[in-house]
């Protein structure tokens, strides 16, 4: 098989697996939230509500597609795709097991971080193109917030990169044989916490979900979207969340490393990612949203300096370790 065809095939499989997983992650979140709120959650569609995501997707596909009369049609229609694309693309560099992935780039982490920041373009296009004041305010907030939180997010993600001495995802996992980076004394835990907080903000989850902020801005940048376009945005959001959870599991929790035979690797990886996803969900359903100025304050005054210092400290540790001949 020619390499191009092979990559296309793998890409196709990963894409479909990712979309399937994203759909079911929504069900997981709804069930989890329901338990927190002493409810049952989706129950009627299929056995124990297991077909609910399918029903949701079908419903959204059948909905009427409404374009606001005074919207900027080109930008408005392009936005969901511009938003979804980077969110799906981040899975390209994620290896799910040694050699099992679309492309294990030697700059994998850089690629992931760069591409995941691109979602802001789609967000802003949606907010601007809708020609709606709520959406516009939300887009403004989005730019503010994502610029503020991408920096600490990147710095926190760079800590494992420094520790492993490589930007290649598989090399980072290999470097965690014996000691996951989350267990690395002090640095590992701090970086992991900073990563989680920045993740919440980068994914626009409560307490940092001021872009959506439905009690103020109704639904934020996607207030005018309906039907399939809304579904695409929703899909992108959850894909981004899942992708970031996978990245967290890979950078800090040892990726596919775990007891048992090698073929259990992807299972371990998935379990770890779902664990991170559930932590994020847990936070989401327990906190109130904070204000835009407070969010920026946390980022610039606390998280950014903290992650910078952490990164420098990691540099020192690595340099000392190198000098010690380890």
């Amino acid at each position: 098989m020619p390499p191009l065809a092979y990559h296309a095939l793998v890409g196709f499989i990963v894409l479909n697996v990712v979309i399937g997983m994203v759909t079911y992650v929504t069900l997981l979140e709804r069930k989890f939230a329901a338990r927190m709120q002493s409810r049952i959650g989706p129950y009627y569609v299929g056995p124990r509500g297991l077909l609910q995501p399918i029903a949701d997707a079908l419903k959204l596909m059948l909905k009427e597609d409404i374009v606001p009369a005074r919207a900027d049609r080109f930008i408005y229609n392009l936005a969901p795709i511009a938003f979804l694309l980077p969110c799906i693309l981040i899975f390209a560099t994620l290896p799910f097991a040694p050699g099992l992935g679309v492309a294990d780039l030697n700059i994998g982490v850089l690629f992931f971080l760069a591409v995941s920041s691109l979602e802001i373009v789609g967000l802003f296009m949606g907010g601007w193109g809708s020609n709606n004041k709520y959406a516009l305010l939300s887009a403004m907030r989005a730019v503010n917030q994502i610029i503020s939180y991408d920096l600490p997010f990147i710095f926190a993600a760079l800590v494992p990169v420094l520790l492993a001495g490589s930007m290649q995802m598989s090399a980072i996992v290999t470097a965690q044989h014996g000691l996951w980076f989350v267990a690395y004394p002090v640095i590992g835990q701090l970086a992991f916490v900073a990563f989680l907080v920045a993740t919440l903000a980068a994914e626009n989850r409560v307490p940092f979900d001021i872009l959506e902020a439905e009690s103020e801005l109704v639904a934020g940048f996607r207030v005018e979207y309906s039907g399939m376009k809304f579904a695409l945005i929703q899909l992108g959001e959850y894909a981004h969340m899942l992708g970031t959870s996978f990245l967290g599991a890979l950078l800090f929790l040892g990726g596919w490393l775990g007891p048992g035979p090698a073929w259990l690797g992807p299972v371990w990886f998935l379990l770890k990612a779902v664990l991170i996803f559930l932590v994020v969900t847990w936070v989401r359903w327990s906190f109130v949203r904070i204000r835009v100025d407070q969010i920026l304050g946390i980022s610039w005054k606390l998280l950014l300096p903290a992650t910078l210092i952490l990164l420098m400290a990691t540099g020192f540790v690595v340099a000392l370790r190198g000098a010690g001949g380890a």
């Binding site: 004041k133 305010l137 409560v206 979900d209 801005l217 989401r284």
Partner: protein, 387 residues
């Protein structure tokens, strides 16, 4: 004083930054019904708010003129549908005042029990919706909302056992109450209150140890004591601004003087102070219900015989104003009777209406996100604002 203050805020000159006029409501997730706030924004900061009401006007006062004294109590509850017992009580109290009708002590105690249970139910809904305003229907706010609604349901179950209805009760009638408590109800009530007392502690632990909740509420929407007295806010807003005024002690009605109501007061005047006042009122209401159940006298529940037709109750010519402390503050009913079976004229004083008047004074200068937090802390019910 406060008027000029508000006006000066509205008339801030063009500061070089673009302004945006944004409608919040009348159809909006946190409009608490049909409130329409026209916000003028500079970036995220609100520089002026124009409050528009009237979307839920149902000619309630005119309706009262067309219904007899027997019929209207059930309809009166629709002014403030979140705490329906309050308006019923205010109406029958006005009729009894004008008609000089005595109310048996047992009925007075039953009215106290229902009024306090209603206060608990109403505050439950307030806590839930307010947290949802701040925390989002897809976030922590929804969690608190569902918890609070769960407790409100317990109270509604009690009302259902008592009156057969869960929202609009028709419990009060001129001269007493329509229903007596059924067997076992007192025990059910005490058990419910024990559950709620325990859960209140859980909420306080959950919210007050939460840094995000504190930064969203402390120092936000401060109503100074002067402003509160000047605008004439009532209820928890007034007590949150350091004024210890509660009609249950200031002008006791329906035997409230028997219970020694303790009035919670906070001095800070911000959203958090109003939250603290309402949480203390929860506990005080629970204590009052227990006390009223303990001291419930025997005897009739109504001072007048049952009627065969709705026109049989006639009130002699006269006029009078009754006022009761509802969950949102002073609810008043001014009644003019002309000797017939229907009032000649009726005027409601809604607590939500006068509380809402404080918004233009406190909102300018805050961020958009604070608008919903402040509005939630004012706890308006639009059935009562527009009537």
């Amino acid at each position: 004083m406060a008027d000029t203050l508000a006006r000066s805020t509205v008339e801030i000159g063009y500061g070089g930054s673009e302004r945006l006029t944004m409608n919040m409501g009348p159809q909006h997730p946190s409009a608490h019904g049909v409130f329409r706030a026209i916000l003028t924004l500079e970036g995220e900061t609100v520089v002026a708010i124009d409050a528009v009401i009237g979307y839920l006007h149902r000619c309630h006062e005119k309706l009262a003129e067309t219904l007899t004294y027997v019929q209207y109590p059930t309809i009166a509850s629709k002014t403030d549908y979140v705490s329906a017992m309050t308006a019923e009580l205010a109406y029958v109290a006005a009729v009894e005042l004008v008609g000089k009708i005595d109310v048996p002590r047992r009925a007075q105690y039953l009215r106290v029990i229902c009024a306090e249970l209603q206060r608990i139910a109403s505050h439950c809904l307030w806590l839930g919706t307010w947290c949802m305003d701040m925390g989002g229907a897809l976030g922590g706010g929804a969690t608190i909302f569902l918890y609070a609604i769960r407790e409100r349901e317990l109270i509604l179950d009690l009302f259902e056992t008592l009156t057969g209805a869960r929202l609009l009760y028709g419990f009060h009638q001129v001269g007493g109450t329509r229903y007596d408590i059924p067997a076992g109800w007192a025990q059910q009530c005490r058990e419910t209150l024990a559950v709620i007392t325990q859960r209140l502690g859980e909420y306080e632990a959950m919210l007050e140890a939460n840094a995000f909740f504190l930064v969203r509420t402390q120092g936000v929407g401060v109503i100074s004591r002067d402003l509160a007295e000047h605008v004439g806010v009532a209820g928890p807003l007034l007590r949150g601004s350091g004024v210890a005024y509660d009609l249950r002690t200031a002008a006791p009605y329906s035997s409230y003087e028997d219970f020694g109501v303790r009035v919670p007061v906070e001095s800070a005047g911000d959203c958090f102070a109003r939250y603290r006042v309402r949480m203390a009122e929860f506990r005080e209401s629970i204590r009052l219900v227990h006390a009223a159940l303990d001291g419930l006298p025997e005897g009739p529940i109504s001072s007048r015989p049952g009627v065969k037709s709705v026109g049989q109750v006639r009130i002699p010519k006269g006029e009078g104003y009754s006022r009761v402390e509802g969950a949102r503050g002073e609810v008043g009913c001014y009644l003019v009777a002309d000797g017939g079976p229907k009032p000649y004229r009726l005027k409601w004083r809604g607590a939500s209406f006068s509380n809402l008047a404080v918004l233009p004074h406190i909102i300018p200068g805050h961020k958009v996100a604070d608008v919903v937090a402040i509005m939630g802390s004012v706890d308006p019910v639009f059935g009562e604002v527009d009537r």
